[in-house]
């Protein structure tokens, strides 16, 4: 039970990294990215390929994963800067699927739909499963704390204020002399870096990557996490991620109450409950459980 709890805390941490990444892109800069799963995949694959095929140390693999995702984010946002939100939504959605198609078909690089197994985890071979989960959980939670700290710094820094200005009124921000294009690309790249970091963490915790992992459903869960937690609020992003994992896992335990139903019906009810809960949370807390609060200017005390 403890092992299960730790593992899910780790998953929640990985979801929180994703939500924090999305928070920079969407919450702060107002750009939508429905291709989260694609950036998550880039980080996971880059780190897996580096550590399994090239036998890089894990730290180097993870850094590579972060860099690849950040670069892809920068390039994609550069290409799509002129697009309004709804178009960007569909472009990024397509991008996520493209990454999955490449992962499925470019067997020479990704081992195709077989996936890459045996991705090393820190100290995995010398630990019991429980101890490994504890180590992974501690590592991921510290990473989330660091990411959270960085996000907060960005949010309070002039850069973060400029991003919010761009999000709320791009024209006004441009008139005020903000380098809108550059800031947007930077925000997208920073956010993508966090998504890639989450992917790398996932690969090393799970020890396996395959194209099927990166289906759009994951993107949806992260959007729920951020929307439920509170868009633009870093604490909300983390809390939302925990909430989503709690919901995904908690619904498993309702199944025994539907014993008269067939397996597929019980599984459908579980997913209906997940979807409906998310709609209810959004409907009654449309700004999220923690609404965004504009930060105090730096230098003022509490």
């Amino acid at each position: 039970m403890l092992s299960y709890f730790l593992a899910n805390l780790t998953f929640a941490g990985i979801y929180a990294l994703l939500a924090l990444g999305l928070n920079v892109i969407w919450g702060m800069a107002g750009m939508i990215n429905l291709g989260l799963a694609g950036f998550f995949a880039l980080g996971a694959y880059a780190s897996s390929i580096a550590t399994v095929y090239l036998e890089f140390p894990i730290v180097l693999g993870v850094s590579l994963g972060v860099m690849v995702a950040a670069t892809a984010g920068g390039v994609l946002s550069q290409l799509s800067l002129n697009l309004r939100g709804d178009y960007l939504a569909i472009v990024t959605l397509g991008f996520g699927e493209l990454i999955r198609l490449i992962a499925t078909n470019e067997t020479w690089l990704t081992n195709g739909s077989d996936g890459i197994s045996g991705v090393p985890g820190p100290f995995r071979s010398s630990l019991t499963p429980l101890a490994f989960n504890a180590v992974a959980c501690a590592l991921v939670i510290s990473t989330v704390l660091v990411a959270w700290f960085i996000s907060e710094r960005i949010r309070k820094a002039p850069f973060g204020r400029a991003l919010r200005a761009i999000r709320d009124d791009e024209m006004a921000a441009a008139v005020a002399g903000k380098p809108v294009r550059l800031y947007k690309i930077q925000a997208f790249a920073i956010g993508s870096a966090l998504l890639g970091l989450a992917g790398a963490a996932y690969a090393h915790f799970n020890s396996y990557v395959a194209p099927d992992i990166f289906r759009p459903l994951l993107t949806i869960y992260i959007f729920f996490a951020l929307t439920a937690g509170g868009t633009g609020n870093t604490l909300g992003a983390v809390f939302g991620a925990v909430l989503v994992i709690a919901l995904l896992e908690g619904t498993r335990f309702i199944e025994p109450f539907f014993e008269s139903l067939s397996g597929v019906q019980a599984a459908s009810i579980r997913e209906i409950v997940i979807g409906a809960t998310l709609i209810f949370v959004m409907r009654f807390r449309p700004k999220g459980i923690f609404a965004e609060r504009p930060p105090r200017p730096l230098g003022t005390s509490d």
Partner: protein, 287 residues
């Protein structure tokens, strides 16, 4: 057999089927101004409603299609009223995310009722006709004609009926429309009704050539979105053109790309078109 003309014909047929749900999607976008991702589950619902009418009630294609239209339209209205409408004031993207949650709920309601088994329509199947070295299926031809008829009705209705004119007015400029005494809420409901109805009918038309299961809608949402974006979000003629671009593009792609990359065509079409025309081929909200 000549490959190129054959692929062109396949593409035109696929594109015309794709156009129906793409029109529905883009019309809802034009009036309500958010991408409603629940078209996936409404296409599935239409396909299953058509199945029920055809297999259980023994209705032929056209009445079954009407039944698919009505069912998807009704489900669309009810679910919009409960789940999406209250969220629209909080921004297009909030509503869009909620529409994804709605998709999960609706898809699983279909699964709860019908299970995951593959189901096929009870329609006679005929071998393709061959003319001038290319082949075309009688059923494909029938679907093509049905799709063209639906498109004609849509265009005539938008042009000449009061409701159609009201929809165009709201799409064009909601404030002005309201000043003219058009109730935007009512027009919004009508749009959801007809939009989701078209999506449902399109789901059935696309499902006729395959077999259906709760994931049916998911299999063609990417091309539907791509069609709407390429043509210009909110533009109905644009969505038809976009559907043709995607349909023909996907089929022709196997000449140059591995068939495993068919879905990537939509993405590349979007990127190429948007680089030159950031608002799509026909621009936005041109009815």
């Amino acid at each position: 057999m000549e490959l190129l003309p054959q692929l062109l014909i396949n593409g035109v047929i696929f594109g015309s089927l794709l156009a129906i749900p793409a029109i529905g999607f883009t019309a809802i976008f034009a009036v309500l101004r958010f991408p409603n991702f629940s078209v996936a589950s409404h296409a599935t619902i239409g396909a299953f409603a058509g199945y029920a009418a055809n297999v259980w009630l023994g209705l032929p294609t056209v009445p079954a299609l009407l039944f698919a239209f009505t069912t998807a339209a009704a489900v669309g209205c009810i679910s919009d009223e409960i789940a999406l409408k209250p969220l629209r004031p909080y921004g297009a993207l909030t509503a869009a995310i909620a529409s994804i949650a709605l998709t999960i709920v609706l898809e699983n309601m279909v699964r709860l009722g019908f299970g995951n088994d593959l189901r096929g329509y009870n329609l006679p199947l005929m071998r393709d006709w061959r003319m001038y070295g290319v082949r075309v299926g009688p059923q494909q031809l029938q679907n093509l004609i049905l799709a063209l008829m639906i498109m004609t009705i849509v265009f005539l209705a938008l042009k000449f009926t009061r409701t159609g004119k009201a929809m165009r007015a709201v799409a064009d400029n909601p404030e002005l429309a309201e000043l003219k005494g058009i109730d935007p809420t009512f027009v919004g409901r009508l749009t959801v009704f007809f939009g989701m109805g078209l999506v449902g009918a399109g789901g059935m038309l696309l499902g006729l050539g395959t077999s259906i299961d709760p994931l049916t809608g998911f299999r063609f949402i990417l091309p539907i979105f791509a069609a709407a974006v390429v043509g210009g979000l909110g533009s109905i003629p644009g969505s038809v053109i976009g559907a043709m671009v995607i349909g023909i593009g996907e089929e022709l792609s196997i000449l140059v790309l591995s068939a495993t990359y068919k879905s990537a065509v939509g993405f590349f079409a979007i990127v190429i078109v948007l680089i030159f025309r950031p608002r799509g081929i026909l621009g936005e909200r041109k009815f």
